[in-house]
């Protein structure tokens, strides 16, 4: 009996070795190319570019996992490109979004760099400072085609180091049964909150962001609506302890009174009708429309104190200094920013919005008032600071300030002042 066990073990090892060797062998797996339905469009933009040199070869392109339906669309885009430039292969590697940065940086540290990849907006500046990505070649694109906000998240020292692929922002979702008219100002919001709050029915007014990374990310949006900023990089000043930010934090503390966290932190609290208002992005739309048909909801701009404002988020694409086939990489990225392609990419694949100005109006927006609201909000969206230490300040200093204020252990003013002191120390300003 034991002998049989032993030999079967050896057999298993032998089989597995041969199997892995053949799997790892240099057999190029056939690309499952969906038939490219679109006829090659010779759009005006394409003709404007400098004549593209003979493109061939292979590049590796690392992406975040697209939302479910997106993987197929990404493959369609890839097939379209490869058909346009026969002899090229785009190796797309999908990576779970939460693990993308660890994997990317570990790979770079261990000496393996992809040719091109997505890159989260704030990281572009860091990568430029570390000298591992290349600037955009001259003449590749026409800057006027792009939304300036999105494009400029790639700009460091007046040079572009990547191209935006999608952009997104956040706005106010509200339950139309509980909140018939959405608030336009902070005062209206507080009024509505008071009326809507119902502890017996377990209804909270607003999903008040907590003292964590997400809350700290949302905070600048409200600061913007009060007319303030978080940092002034040109004059090296920390501005998030000034009046607008203090007001914003005070607003949250006020709203918290009508929004117990026992209710707001329940899963899908908004969708189940227990929270009247929440801040989120366009990625919620698909889920809300498909899975929660009995909920009555709508989207509005974030209530303003002084002006409209929001955060801009999104993804850029960069090419690495050590890439082997840079021409092909840039051509592929540029391809992804062209009209039709970008529409597909940014909406279906990434769940955000296109960065191509030509698409700011178009059929795809027709009749979708909620998307239009987001596009409207995008106009007032502001970018995050690009200092190297921002993420750490975000996580450890600002979120703590928010947490202290919301827990009532410090006044909003004091917590932000203390936070600003700490931030100055870290930044060395």
């Amino acid at each position: 009996m034991k002998k049989i066990l032993l030999w079967s073990l050896v057999l298993v090892i032998c089989i597995s070795m041969t199997a892995t060797l053949s799997l790892a062998g240099c057999k190029k797996a056939a690309e499952e190319a969906a038939p490219a339905e679109e006829v090659e469009e010779v759009s005006a933009e394409e003709e404007e570019e400098a004549p593209v040199p003979e493109l061939e070869g292979e590049i590796s392109f690392w992406v975040y996992e697209p939302i479910p339906e997106g993987l197929a669309v990404l493959d369609t885009l890839k097939a379209k490109f490869e058909q346009q430039y026969p002899g090229t292969t785009i190796d797309i590697l999908p990576i779970p979004k939460g693990d993308f940065n660890p994997k990317l940086n570990t790979a770079i540290a261990a000496g393996d760099v992809p040719d091109a990849s997505y890159l989260d907006q704030p990281l572009v500046a860091l990568f430029v400072r570390d000298g591992i990505i290349d600037p955009v070649p001259d003449g590749l694109i026409n800057e006027a085609d792009f939304y300036p906000g999105a494009l400029n998240t790639n700009r460091v020292n007046d040079e572009l180091y990547g191209l935006p692929l999608s952009q997104t922002t956040i706005a106010l979702y509200y339950n139309t049964d509980l909140v018939p008219t959405p608030p336009e100002t902070w005062d209206e919001m507080i009024e509505i909150a008071k009326n809507v709050y119902d502890p017996d029915k377990e209804i909270a007014a607003f999903n008040v962001p907590q003292g964590d990374g997400w809350g700290a990310w949302l905070f600048p949006a409200f600061v913007a609506t009060a007319g303030g900023t978080m940092l002034d990089e040109s004059s090296r000043e920390v501005t998030f302890a000034e009046a607008p930010a203090v007001d914003a934090l005070s607003l949250w503390v006020e709203l918290l009174k009508y929004s117990p966290i026992e209710i707001s932190t329940a899963q899908n609290a908004f969708q189940t009708g227990h929270v009247a208002m929440m801040i989120s992005g366009p990625w919620e739309l698909g889920g809300l429309r498909a899975e929660w048909p009995e909920l009555n909801w709508d989207v509005a701009l974030i209530p303003k104190k002084v002006q409209w404002g929001s955060n801009i988020g999104g993804d850029n694409a960069v090419v690495y200094k050590d890439a082997k086939n840079k021409d092909l990489a840039w051509a592929w990225i540029e391809f992804l920013t062209e009209d039709e392609n970008n529409l597909e990419l940014s909406t279906t694949v990434m769940g955000n919005f296109p960065i191509n100005l030509a698409l700011s109006t178009g059929d795809w927006l027709n009749g979708d008032s909620q998307l239009q609201t987001f596009m409207e909000q995008m106009k007032y969206a502001q970018a995050r600071p690009t200092v190297t230490e921002w993420l750490k300040i975000n996580d450890e200093i600002i979120s703590r300030a928010i947490g202290d204020a919301l827990a009532g252990t410090k006044t909003p003013e004091k917590s932000l002042i203390d936070a600003a002191d700490d931030a100055r120390q870290i930044l060395g300003w």
């Binding site: 979004k97 939460g98 770079i108 026992e262 230490e389 996580d395 979120s399 120390q425």
Partner: protein
């Protein structure tokens, strides 16, 4: 017996005579065999454990964002970790959080595992059924475990709060209220004690039945049986579980990361009540890109665990007498 070969060798290579005689001595043969047996381990150890550990140790003295070459900073990292409350505000905090977790989790999981193992061991039928059921949580991936328990602990619709409501007890915000976070995590750890249970079962099986039979004849009752036979003979198992339990709990990471990690926008939960030490290390390595500091922090933890393990080796009985 070996005369032919040794004569031949003696004629051709005089030194080999001494070598051969050295090899023939059984004690030296033991040595060679021992080294041979652990040869794979040595190779593996050097490549995948020793080198990375030394590398990490050296990186602890550098400032390194993983994209550019590391820059030597000497003891800066350590100094800042211990004394700079602005740069590393949660250093001591994460240590206390971890300590709280370890102190609660290890005794709880071990004692419950022992109880269940004893119970299962005492019945004839359905052993397999119980073993399978109680091992289920172990084989579930952390993502699923987190999803399951997020539902159980949900403040509005969770299973636990529904039960409390039925009993007219006030609902608890298990995962959202700082005071309840660590206990909630310990409950999850206890839920997945299948491995410890199995190890205890294996240990129980190793106790010769003759002892129990003799005890029955002598009229010894159940509790005394446990105290004088079971417990002492389980010492090696208990020792093993204690050591590995501490080592594991100090480094708890996966479930915390899925529940309270950066992926969900959280930094260690409400008021950082779940910011364990390894989560803090992870954030510094992969979110703030301070790999040097992360390595330094890892070493501090290493020293602490080594000290605790040495203490355990000295003062906890390894085997029965």
């Amino acid at each position: 017996m070996r005369n032919n070969s040794s004569d031949l060798l003696q004629v051709t290579y005089p030194q080999s005579k001494t070598i051969l005689r050295w090899c023939q001595r059984s004690r030296n043969r033991e040595w060679l065999l021992g080294y041979l047996f652990i040869m794979p381990l040595i190779v593996y150890f050097i490549l995948f454990l020793l080198y990375p550990t030394i590398a990490a140790f050296i990186y602890g003295f550098t400032s390194w964002n993983m994209r550019t070459p590391p820059v030597w900073v000497g003891l800066e990292n350590y100094k800042k970790l211990f004394f700079d409350r602005v740069a590393y505000p949660y250093f001591w905090h994460s240590f206390t959080v971890t300590l709280k977790y370890v102190v609660l989790a290890v005794p709880t999981t071990m004692s419950v595992a022992l109880v269940i193992a004893l119970l299962i061991n005492s019945i004839r039928r359905m052993q397999t059924f119980f073993k399978v059921c109680l091992y289920l949580p172990v084989i579930t991936s952390a993502v699923a475990v987190a999803a399951i328990w997020r539902w159980v602990y949900d403040p509005l619709y969770g299973l636990l709060n529904m039960v409390l409501k039925a009993l007219h007890i006030q609902k608890v915000n298990w995962l959202g209220e700082p005071a309840f976070v660590i206990p909630s995590l310990v409950i999850i750890a206890t839920w997945s004690l299948g491995s410890s249970m199995l190890i205890y079962l294996a240990g129980l099986k190793g106790i010769p039945k003759q002892y129990y039979e003799a005890a029955l004849i002598d009229g010894v009752n159940g509790w005394q049986q446990f105290r004088y036979i079971t417990w002492p003979l389980l010492q090696p198992t208990t020792f093993f579980l204690l050591i590995t339990g501490f080592i594991g709990s100090f480094q708890v990471f996966e479930i915390i990361y899925v529940l309270y990690g950066a992926g969900g926008g959280s930094i260690g939960g409400p008021r950082q009540s779940a910011l364990t030490y390894v989560l803090y290390i992870y954030n510094h390595a992969f979110r703030y890109y301070e790999m040097g500091t992360a390595c330094a922090m890892s070493f501090i933890l290493f020293i602490i665990i080594v000290i605790i393990t040495i203490i355990q080796f000295k003062y906890v009985r390894q085997t029965y007498e």
